[in-house]
């Protein structure tokens, strides 16, 4: 971690553990995870299925609680948050992107993106401007009146990204955002997120085991069996890997 990031730590976990009951036994999803994530990072939690990526992401997103240890997100101890406080934090400061998009099916693209702003009580003029900006970022301004069912998987995920970033959250959590997309769409979406990270200095945390996503990451935290096995900065050689990957996908 760079020294300047030490002062702007947004997410910090200490000995974070999560155990799920599994019939008569238990499943250790996270085991003493210690992790700090600074402002503006573009970080990936990588590892095989069942390694605890989504669980960690859910705890960081205040959607779940740790069994033991501590998770501090944007100055709030997750384990101490009430339902209402957790909802308030998610509403105001955290954006989510899911593998299955989780768009509201009866709303149009515009209404889906507008929804977080409605919850924040923004007035209609500001809402309109922010929604149009967000749709332009993801190149979907012309599909504003479409319903999710009328969009491709890539377009749905771009709507989900627009919805996640429209309120300009400090953290965006993305769980396998490219898992349902083809290579071309995956690269397009990752490029969009890199751009948003650069322009808005939003912290992005991914849970992924997709090599295409990994090629865009600035920091890669590898989880195995609920523990951090490796925490590494990604070298510039990644960029060449990315280019190779994109060339392959075009072919």
């Amino acid at each position: 971690m760079k020294p300047e990031q030490e002062n702007s730590i947004l997410i910090k976990t200490e000995n974070l553990s999560k155990v799920y009951p599994l019939g008569l036994s238990t499943l250790q999803a996270l085991d003493c995870v210690n992790l700090s994530i600074g402002k503006g990072e573009f970080l990936g939690l990588v590892g095989p299925s069942g390694s605890g990526k989504t669980t960690l992401l859910n705890i960081i997103g205040c959607l779940d609680l740790p069994t033991s240890g501590s998770a501090e997100v944007l100055g709030n101890k997750v384990e101490l948050l009430t339902h209402k406080a957790a909802a308030h934090l998610r509403k105001n400061r955290i954006g989510f992107i899911f593998q299955t998009f989780n768009l509201l099916p009866v709303y149009t693209v515009y209404e889906n993106v507008e929804f977080p702003l409605l919850l924040l009580g923004k007035n209609s003029v500001i809402r309109k401007k922010l929604v149009i900006d967000a749709l332009e970022w993801v190149d979907l301004a012309d599909r504003a009146d479409s319903k999710p069912a009328q969009l491709s998987g890539g377009e749905c995920q771009r709507v989900a990204i627009a919805r996640a970033v429209v309120k300009k959250p400090e953290i965006v959590l993305a769980d396998e955002p490219t898992a349902n997309l083809d290579a071309e769409n995956s690269h397009h979406i990752m490029k969009t997120m890199v751009q948003l990270n650069k322009e808005l200095h939003t912290t992005f945390v991914f849970a992924t085991h997709d090599a295409k996503v990994m090629s865009y990451l600035h920091r890669k935290v590898t989880l195995v069996d609920g523990s951090i096995e490796k925490d590494e900065r990604v070298s510039s050689t990644n960029q060449s890997n990315r280019k190779r990957s994109r060339r392959r996908s075009r072919k």
Binding site: L63, N102, Y107, L119
Partner: protein
């Protein structure tokens, strides 16, 4: 306000799903009101028919008259005193002489009541005017039930036997000049109607009567010595008791219908809300509190109830109004229900019925939307997002 706005947006956005829910609910809503209206109409008709046919605005009974004791009839007669005479002359009351007799239709003995009625009376709906057109034979009217059980028909002549005021047996042939149809059994079962003056002559009770029936809107001004006033409420008490007993049955029917409607609403709402649990997870993820989530989905249910009431009103009002005018044909067997049911029932819908049913349906919709939502809202957001149900 935002929650209401979002709920409205959700149900409009749901399109077909909302449409089906609304139509199914409106059917239940209109059906409940219709059936309860039929039931109310039936009760009102029975009461009105009884008043028109026999009870009028109340009756003065001779002090010895006991309708359940035929032996009392020999003592229960007198010339109506002046206050009642005035009402009879002005056709605001009708006098009836009641006497026990016997007939032998098809060779079988049958105990009957001979009822003498003034053929110019206008108080009761009995077709007494037909008793005017008579020659030397005594004209008689019987109701359709009496005709059926006795095998009598228009034009038949039968022997009627009785004991006169001195206790002497007498008999005479009467001619059935008409068989009238009435829903009121009190003027039909085992009765023969003959002209009042002829019955008075036959028995030897000139100008006397057993009861005096007042016109519908006539109120007794004072007590009449030797005669007891029986109000319409008193006369209808058996009918009311029967209606009350049937009302309990009707309430059970109403409750069953409501429960069926509730089940339909519950099914559609549970199905709809269950299907949307991932959507609920998304709402949680976007920052909805549990309370807000429960409010949103409960309000959606209530709005569907309101829409159903509006849609039900759109087709229900003309349909129910039409049926209220044309009536609802009753099967033949309805004649044996035990009280006056017409060939057609004209449903009546009171404001209380419509408002009560509307409020009840809205309440039920709200409750059945609240219960499954509350359950799903109590899930962890991560479970809801995965579409888990427990």
């Amino acid at each position: 306000m935002l929650t209401l706005k979002l709920a409205f947006r959700n149900i409009i956005g749901a399109g077909l799903r909302t449409g089906l829910n609304v139509i199914a609910l409106s059917f239940a809503y209109v059906t409940i009101i219709f059936l309860q209206g039929v039931y109310n109409g039936m009760n009102e008709q029975a009461e009105q028919a009884s008043i028109n046919a026999f009870y009028g605005g109340g009756q003065f009974w001779h002090k010895s008259y006991d309708p359940f004791d035929p032996l009392s009839f020999t003592d229960a007669h007198a010339i109506p005193p002046e206050p009642l005479q005035n009402l009879i002359i002005t056709q605001n009351a009708a006098q009836i002489l009641i006497w026990q007799g016997f007939v032998y239709p098809e060779g079988r003995f049958r105990s009957i009541l001979m009822k003498g009625i003034d053929n110019v009376q206008k108080v009761l709906s009995i077709p007494s005017h037909l008793l005017q057109n008579s020659d030397q034979t005594i004209p008689a009217l019987v109701g359709s039930r009496m005709a059926r059980v006795s095998g009598l028909k228009k034009g038949d002549e039968i022997i009627v036997q009785w004991r006169d005021v001195r206790g002497t047996f007498d008999a005479r042939e009467v001619k059935i000049i008409d068989v009238f149809t009435s829903t009121v059994q009190e003027i039909d079962n085992d009765q023969i109607w003959i002209p009042l003056h002829r019955l008075q002559e036959l028995i030897g009770l000139a100008d006397e009567a057993t009861i005096v029936v007042l016109g519908k809107n006539i109120q007794p001004k004072s007590e009449v010595i030797g005669w007891n006033f029986k109000s319409t409420d008193y006369l209808l008490k058996d009918l009311h008791a029967m209606v009350k007993a049937k009302t309990i049955g009707g309430s059970i029917m109403y409750t069953i219908l409501l429960l069926l409607a509730m089940l339909a609403i519950f099914d559609t709402q549970v199905l709809s809300i269950w299907r949307r649990r991932k959507e609920m997870g998304t709402f949680m993820e976007l920052g909805f509190t549990r309370l807000r989530l429960i409010s949103l989905f409960t309000i959606e249910g209530t709005l569907i109830g309101i829409l159903a009431a509006i849609v039900g009103g759109v087709y229900g009002i003309p349909l129910l109004t039409y049926i209220a005018h044309t009536g609802w044909a009753m099967p033949q067997v309805a004649d044996q229900f035990g009280f006056a049911i017409g060939e057609r029932i004209y449903p009546t819908y009171s404001i209380a019925l419509i408002l009560g049913t509307t409020i009840l349906v809205l309440l039920v919709t709200t409750v059945v939307s609240f219960i499954p939502t509350k359950k799903i809202a109590s899930l962890k957001p991560t479970d809801a997002l995965r579409g888990k149900s427990t």
